[in-house]
Subunit: 357 residues, 2 copies
Amino acid sequence: MNHKIYFTPGPSQIYYTVSDHLKSAVKEDVMCISHRSAAFQKIFESTRLSLRELLEIPDGYEIYFTSSANEVWERIIQNLVIDSSHHFTNGSFAKKFHQFALSYQKNSTSTLVDDGQDFTDLSVPEKAELISVTLNETSIGFGFDMEKLKELRASYPDKLIALDGVSAFPAVKVDWQLVDTAYFSVQKCFGLPAGLGVWIVNQRCMEKYDQVKKAGIVTGSYHDLTDLKSNGDKNQTPETPNILGIYLLGKVCQDMLFRGAKMIQNDTIYKSTILYQALEQNPKFNPFIANKKIRSKTVIVSECEGGNAGIVKLLGDKGFVIGKGYGSFKDSHIRIANFPVHSKEQIEMICDLIAAY
Amino acid sequence: MNHKIYFTPGPSQIYYTVSDHLKSAVKEDVMCISHRSAAFQKIFESTRLSLRELLEIPDGYEIYFTSSANEVWERIIQNLVIDSSHHFTNGSFAKKFHQFALSYQKNSTSTLVDDGQDFTDLSVPEKAELISVTLNETSIGFGFDMEKLKELRASYPDKLIALDGVSAFPAVKVDWQLVDTAYFSVQKCFGLPAGLGVWIVNQRCMEKYDQVKKAGIVTGSYHDLTDLKSNGDKNQTPETPNILGIYLLGKVCQDMLFRGAKMIQNDTIYKSTILYQALEQNPKFNPFIANKKIRSKTVIVSECEGGNAGIVKLLGDKGFVIGKGYGSFKDSHIRIANFPVHSKEQIEMICDLIAAY
């Protein structure tokens, strides 16, 4: 194999149409146009529409662009929390969001589970104004159980629910009725160059924002929700944004719509199923999440007997670049991304190599 | 002319090597690699080194990446100001930075001048911890007088000086002895796609940051100065950054180094001189800034008799896309960018068209 294919959990392999879209971007002067021009407004509007269709985002939810999911964490804390948020912490990224809240001197709390274990206690402190749930914890391959999200919504109808959709959207379907705000970055399932975050908020968030503002709390500056909204209503952004990123996102959404969200989601399930099977059938591997209900469908994580060096090298020699473990699991885990760009044929080849290892 | 050339004040024409660098980025998997990989660290280090050489940034100053200059405004206020900053406000962008400080509930002040007039009063309130100066006010083409920056440094040696280098660096030379922190976005003189800001800070800023931290003030989260530094020291970033943007910036810096910063700066002076001459010699135009000492060399702004529609169309028909006025000057001003990508030949053609108008 001459060229590498990235199965790293993000940044990952770019979607196969991206290089063509880059050529079009050059031809269409996408990198030259003003962010106050009609040409930009058209791009902004088109990307929003395609994204709304692909993710089936209902009316009443607005879409805004940030520079990363990290930035969205910060903006959620600044704009939607007066005193406290509660974080269901199933891995390093969920934990990081909680730490962001503490950095902003909020009295935020978290429910921690041992690595790879499911949440049994779904209680949330009364003081928490917002509940944070990480749909797909990229660090250990933990997929939050949608039934539990339903329970949370039913138990705490007055609290906002924030869903981290990083490395899940659009490969995992979401019930928007359970969510007030959600966000993701584009270098995961969308197969796009990093540097763009997407933040989705509903009307309840806007009302909560008004309360935060009334409480005299600093809500930020250019990416404060009113600035995002007043500009967004004109198909613009407060600052000069990553125009190329917004353009590419719109184009890839259109490509994915052509394939169909349902098809992408079904393929994701099929590919994850055969990957977990291959890992389970070889005694040298052990999927890190034992409970199948909470296994991620997009980031497959496994323990490796004697460390990951051997399998990383074997796959690497064939051109398949997979991820090592996160943090303390660096040398003991492998993480294999199963994103829309990754074809069934490629995943089947990886399964064969795992079986023969 | 088949194709447009953008003389808008940013985003503007992309540097002529950018499309080739984009092809290399695809070939080299720049959009696929992990931001924690050695490959990314190499890109990060190389871009920093090239930028340091091009801008002649001395030791003791660190370079960090943000998503925009707007973000740097916010980070400066969060990280370097306890109670008050003072803003020399020579146009809309300088004013916006002051507003950011007010959004963060600082007791910040500003010295306002009438549009196009120079500052005569250089006094700064005692309480101000940081002085903000906009080197090139993109809205009206105001170039801050470097002699005045010297005076400010001499009068207030204990205050930090923040220099807005947007649409100036690297076409305008800077004396780093006069500056503690500086910043710019890449879609102006660097001719790059928007979505990347560069923040330069010296050791005095790090000391000030420690004081802000000690005062119990929220300094942000992932783009807090300690996070930027601890990651930067490893040639990394706290979040998954705009990797493609950092790569392209490094490549274009190298291209500009090949041409030479001195040559770029001299060409900028020559091109701005002939542009102002052409405008002065045609009675239908009147450079907005009368005082030659404070005329921007990179964004040439002129009033137009009877409005800008005629000249915008004439130049547009020839393929030269120029900027309209900013804000209330939308229909009465033209703004012509004079960035490193804009050749002497192109500027001479624009001068001829202005002369014949």
